[in-house]
Amino acid sequence: MYNTYLIKYGEIGLKGSNRHVFEDALAKQIMRALRRISGEFSVRKERGRVYVNCAGDWDEEETVSALAHVFGIVGICPVYEFPAGSYEELEQHMLEYVAGEYAGSHASFKVKAKRVDKEFPKNSMEVSADLGGAILTHFPDMRVDVHNPEILFDVEIRDRTYIYSKVIPGPGGMPVGSNGSAMLCLSGGIDSPVAGWMIAKRGVTIDAVYFHAPPYTSDRAKEKVVDLAKKVAEYAGPIRLRVVNFTDIQLAIYDNCPHEELTIIMRRYMMRIAEHFAKKNGNLGIITGESIGQVASQTMQSLITTNAVCEMPVYRPLIGFDKSEIVEIAQKIGTYETSILPFEDCCTIFVAKHPVTKPIPEIIERSEGKLKGMIEELVAAAIDTAELIKVE
């Protein structure tokens, strides 16, 4: 039985002198993920390796699942770990390991030993060959294949000795906290939680803003968005979610602007408010779930028009994705079931039958001009009354 996981990470290894920043962030995120489950855990960083030690009332499945939510982890390897000793002791451990994990197996295998401790009497090649021979003798149904083995036994001889052969895939990416923060425009739909997840996967800390329009949207719709933020937070860590009451702005646009421009103008105000909070938070960008051409407000012309009101970069990780591809990720990360709950969101309530699909920024600006003198106050009020929810 093992009680250690070797954590394989990919890109962090490439970060040169910043490496410790990434490793620290990874260790922090691992501990955050493990705090939520039962057991006592510690993270050990050792010569370019990260180990998780498990003690107390811990459960394998739960622990692996928690680790699989930590960006930066490429592989999770259950490791059989014991004090360094003689070659004979190592062989004994190796045989016990194979008996425990692969009893009755007919698989092909290869042993890949790595001797870091140069005091050890045999070198890496010799250890590999001798252990392979020992396995063959005791498990005659298994066979060696050095080119395409079904099982690869990794053996590392350091101050302690480690054996592992299984790699459970992690989510990849980079640990959250290693790459700045951004403001996610979160709706109740399928796309925006996925967009947030994708950017968080690059090590970015996520904050979020949601626009609701009571009484046209219900408190249940808001609950749904909080639930979605929670799902994203399982990967991304705590999210500061701002809930902005958008009703009065929406009605002012309805009263004063051409109806077919309602959605696009609305989105411009949403972007402005999102940027306001992003600056306040110290975020370095805005994230949206837009994808080219998905709806009228996401044509390239519409994207230029909404983009024009922001100084900050707007990250649109789904820009080239088809709906079915987005749905696939949403299902994988567990947001889909919540996203499809049928509550009205504020983008659809007054939607025009034939909204503009090729808005021209100058014309939209002229329409917005009609809001002058009143909209500033409404926007300020929306910002002032925004509710801040800490989602963990």
Binding site: S218, L251, Y254, F350, A352
Partner: protein, 386 residues
């Protein structure tokens, strides 16, 4: 802000007395009625008392009352239990097009299991078509299930006439009545009316949620659908929900005290609300026009051009709680069963709400609601998808 609760067909507020007895049976007399010791006997007394209280309101025998977890279980049991008991004599079942899902769904289940199920059409006013019923009844009809008071629009079915017809044309059939919205609003004597099975739900008359009962006429044969420890004469297994049952029994007894006075005052409030609504532009009231065919406590109205859910939330902001007849327009959810059954047009199904009253409401509250509606409707009509 004062709360005006007009969603009494969804649930009612339990009375203080009911809460007290529930607390008492959870703190002091918490025994299991099946236990042989004193604690068990104490608990059993509450059950007997509740059974007597409910039987009294129906002029029924105590042995004809069975406790359930609510209206849904009572309906499922009546329908599935009756169908299973009769399956060798016949497999023909009748119900109406406007039933609550707690009736419509078990009937659909039986249909999938091979029973022949037909649905009686209903009029624009929400009343079952008696001529159609006459024509649809067969010698091998084993069950007819119909609601007494419609939960959405408050129309009152002629259950006595239906019962007579059922027993004349289909002597083997049992007549089940879903009285979830009628019990506590009408004096119901099943034996006189020719009702074999009758469902009710405790939380609709100031009792606790998770309680209900099924009246089973002595001699009417239905099978249990819940098997286990053999409680309630083997008809409904499961440890008895003593707190709920005690609370429901008391609530039932209270519901029929000062009955005429109480019902006429609720009816008066309903008429006041309805008259006020008729005075507003763009309002369509659903249900029968004759007062005798209307339940005392339900008004269903369509506010043309205003989404049901939007109106609901606007009134909520003023502390007024109602129910949306049918959900939001843009997701095109299906119209509710009753509004479909009475063929209400889409502009009505998307804008219908239900007000449902209890004796705790006041005329002043009704006036506040009407005043609020007069204020908010013009604004709501101005802003809409177009």
């Amino acid at each position: 802000m004062r709360e005006i609760y007009l969603d009494n067909s969804a649930t009612t507020k339990p009375s203080a007395e009911v809460i007290d007895i529930v607390v008492k049976t959870m703190t002091e007399d918490y025994g299991n009625p099946s236990s042989l010791h004193r604690k068990g006997l104490e608990a059993e007394r509450y059950m007997r008392e509740a059974r007597a209280q409910i039987a009294g309101t129906l002029k029924a025998k105590e042995s004809e009352i069975f406790f359930t977890s609510g209206g849904t279980e009572s309906n499922n049991w009546a329908i599935i239990g009756a169908a299973l008991a009769a399956r060798r004599r016949g497999t023909h079942i009748l119900t109406t097009w406007m039933e609550h899902p707690a009736v419509a769904e078990p009937v659909r289940f039986l249909e999938k299991m091979g029973f022949t199920c037909e649905r009686i059409p209903v009029s624009k006013e929400g009343l079952p078509d008696l001529e159609a019923l006459q024509g649809m009844l067969r010698k091998d009809t084993v069950l007819v299930s119909a609601m007494y008071v419609n939960n959405e629009i408050g129309s009152v079915s002629p259950v006595a006439k239906m019962a007579e017809m059922v027993h004349r044309e289909a002597p083997d059939a049992l007549f089940h009545v879903d009285a979830v919205q009628a019990y506590s609003k009408y004096r119901i004597c099943p034996s006189k009316l020719g009702i074999d099975l009758l469902s009710a739900s405790g939380h609709k008359f100031h009792g606790p949620k998770g309680t209900g009962f099924l009246y089973i006429r002595e001699g009417a044969r239905i099978l249990p659908i819940i098997y286990g420890g053999g409680q309630q004469k083997g008809m409904r297994s499961g440890t008895d929900n003593v707190p709920g049952i005690a609370g429901m029994g008391l609530a039932a007894a209270r519901a029929y005290e000062n009955f005429d006075e109480k019902i006429s005052s609720i009816r008066e409030l309903r008429r006041r609300l309805e008259a006020g609504l008729r005075g507003l532009p763009g309002v369509v009231i659903h249900g029968p026009s004759e007062e005798e065919l209307k339940a005392p406590h339900i008004v269903n109205a369509a506010f043309i051009g205003v989404g049901s859910e939007v109106l609901l939330h606007v009134l909520e902001e003023s502390g007024i709680y109602i129910s949306a007849g049918s959900a939001c327009s843009t997701h095109k959810r299906a119209a509710s069963p009753t509004l479909s059954a009475i063929s209400a047009p889409p502009e009505e199904t998307t804008s219908s709400v239900r007000f449902s009253l209890s004796e705790e409401n006041t005329g002043e509250e009704i006036d506040t609601v009407l005043k609020t509606l007069r204020e908010v409707l013009p604004r709501l009509r101005k802003y809409r998808a177009r």
